[in-house]
Amino acid sequence: MATHEFAAHAAHAHAAPQGFIRKYIFSLDHKVIGLQYFFLALVAVFTGIFLSLLMRIHLVWPTASLPFFGEIKPETYLSLLTMHGTIMVFFVLTTAPQGGFGNYFLPIQIGAPDMAFPVLNMLSFWTTFLGFLVLVAAFFVTGGAPLHGWTGYAPLSALPSAGPGEGLGADLWIISIAIFCIGALMGALNFITTTLDMRAKGMTLMRMPLTCWAWFVTAILGLLAFGVLLSAGILLLMDRNLGTSFFVPLGTVNGVLTGHKGGSPLLWQHLFWFFGHPEVYIAILPAMGLCSQLLSVFSRKPIFGYKAMVYAILAIGFLGFMVWGHHMFMSGMSPYTAFAFSIMTMGIGVPSAIKTFNWLGTLWRGKIRFSSPMLFAIGFVSLFVVGGISGPFLAQPVLDIYLHETYFVIAHFHLIMGVASIFGIFAATYYWFPKMFGRMMNETLAKTHFWITFVGAYAIFMPMHYYGMAGGLRRYSQGTEVAWIHKLAPIQQFITFAAFVTIAGQLIFVFNLFWSMKKGEKASDNPWEATTLEWITATPPPHDNFGGITPVVHNGPYEYSVPGAPRDFVMQTDAPLAARH
């Protein structure tokens, strides 16, 4: 009786689904869900880029009347800015690297047939998708999208009278983020359970590829941080709609009493940044894991210092929860607290520096193959260095007095999140496209895309450092009113021009992506000659990832150029290497 039960269950649960709806819409297959997240992020990134394009145009031509949009008013600029940040941080950087590639490749790289909870996985995608719809809806309601920035500081975000868009638009913004939190938590649950409980035989934690470590720690960060963001959102919704005063003190807007009293604006900032700082590590860790992977594969060398890399990922995750106050040095927080946060922040620079040294160490004495994934990995290192170096400036409160709220900050986080992390997504796409779609992307188009984006990103964001050093302030819909900012207008013009060219270059990527799905050169199962488990399976992988066989792992993930080996890579499932040096 028991076996009958099991067999029936097995047939029910693990036969590949039939029918379009079960196969592509409500699929339980982590590979399909990963692609769904990827395409959601693709739509989101183009939405976000479009918003920033409008912003760049407005900054240079504030009074210009655009076709269809007309003149962009200051409040519209601020709502573009708010939605740009929210869409990019949540629906691109927290979606594509983790929900997209993580969902697709974590189970395969650890030798599992799927995620631990496939139904939950499916729900997590559709929840995230719903969150995106609710967010975009904010543009179309009375008052439009909110203007309070992606950081949503209260009381500006808590008072509907404080500005256009702060009515229903702000409520939808909060609700969308709350929905996103739930989707992200469901995803984190799956990642953690799968990594801990479903690794194949021989796949010890210290034999996992660094991508898996990155996805695992990122999921832990999300697990601990998104609950706090959800709590902040609930309190803000209560302040806005139920008359509570968690964040709003006694005050007026335009001479009219708001009806609140006793709340603390700083409480919002503490809750938000307790989430917000781990969030930026969520955005960068998967890209770091992938960069390690790619530098190793394409230098034909093991990653330099695997253990140190693992410890660095863990340290970044852990310390990431202790530095949130560095966003609040000028907030009115106690200067002693600021000192403590500042020391911790310099501390978190250390594991990031170690990772950079190890990346350089991986290239050193390697045998580098300049495929398109490798170009983006090398580009990632360069951009991470330049973005990271501005961190120690901002981490010191004495310098932050001047630099806070200037374009120096924008340069810092865009170079790390908006470019380096995006380079990770590009690299992942070029690298794993053959495995996902069975074809290679076009190399010439890929390399062209790389050069335009690499040089273009520097052209856009390097000048922002100078703009900020000269005191150019962020979230200014135009620089015309303040004399010292008005003088800097030529820099804005240059940046906008660079943005036009760089954005245009992204169309090459999109074209390459869709064209190659149909017309790309057929890919073998392991075109890059890499060692990790996704490359032992068919291209594309079958429903249960390994075609009925359970892989058994004998080797670490970076055995390249092993002396005495017949070829310059040893798969993780190959017979074990005898002795270790």
């Binding site: 409980d197 509570t244 040096h581």
Partner: protein, 247 residues
């Protein structure tokens, strides 16, 4: 210096034959009904579900930790009274309705019922898989409707909470009356929402009986719901203590 054994075979047989011939599917999903690996066995599924629950309870805990820190901060926060240019404390403690203590008793009883239901279903699943999975439950517990009783007590708790809210409002404390009253509604409301989720899980388990799903599956649902339920009871005790003793 690493060495490489000459007896190793590098060319493992190709692991699978996915769609390598004609146009590859856009999504690497369907290869037409080839049976995959075997479903993991009951102990593995139970362990995995329990691990999932521990992981899932972490953000729930973080939510209430976050609410607690907001509570503590707000309680101690002086605010600037511009009329006097002085910093004043404006925290007014709320007297909790006595009904909350009755509700607490109901919830604790439901937790007892929940544990009995959990063991009962586990025993039934063990009988089916013919393996010993834990301490043998009290014999004779086999037929009592513990699950139904737990659901009933849970619903009784939730309606009791609703009545307590009405009593609070009647005594003049609405959600926005004072910061302290805001937190009372917030904490009890958030807890009630989560407990409702637990009730839904138990109803699903009951549905599984009616749909004649395998008792092993039902046992996992009841086991996970059971630990969740105990967590919710402990959380409630914590919230009650915070609101009563840290006023």
């Amino acid at each position: 210096m690493a060495s490489f054994t000459t007896t190793a075979t590098l060319d493992e047989p190709q692991v699978s034959r996915g769609n390598q011939g004609g146009g590859p599917p856009v999504f690497g999903g369907g290869d037409g009904g080839r049976p995959g690996r075997e479903l993991p066995d009951y102990p593995t599924r139970l362990r995995r579900a329990r691990l999932g629950l521990v992981v899932a309870l972490t953000p729930v805990l973080m939510l209430f930790v976050s609410f607690t820190s907001a509570y503590v901060v707000r309680q101690g926060l002086p605010t600037l009274d511009p009329r006097t240019n002085q910093l004043v404390h404006d925290w007014i403690p709320v007297k909790l309705p006595a009904l909350l203590w009755v509700n607490t008793l109901v919830l604790v009883l439901s937790s007892v019922g929940m544990e009995l239901a959990r063991r009962q279903t586990k025993f039934a699943a063990a009988a089916v898989t013919a393996k010993q999975l834990g301490p043998v439950p009290v014999s004779g517990a086999g037929k009592m409707p513990w699950l139904t009783m737990t659901i009933a007590l849970g619903l009784l708790f939730l309606s009791g909470q609703w009545m307590a809210w009405r009593q609070l409002a009647a005594s003049g404390f609405y959600v926005a009356t004072t910061p302290s009253s805001s937190f009372v509604y917030l904490l009890t409301g958030a807890h009630a929402v989560h407990l409702m989720g637990g009730v839904v899980a138990l109803l699903v388990a009951g549905l599984f009986v009616w749909l004649r799903r395998p008792v092993t599956t039902r046992s996992i649902v009841v086991d996970v719901a059971g630990w969740y339920w105990h967590f919710m009871a402990a959380l409630w005790l914590y919230i009650l203590c915070l609101l009563e003793f840290a006023r």
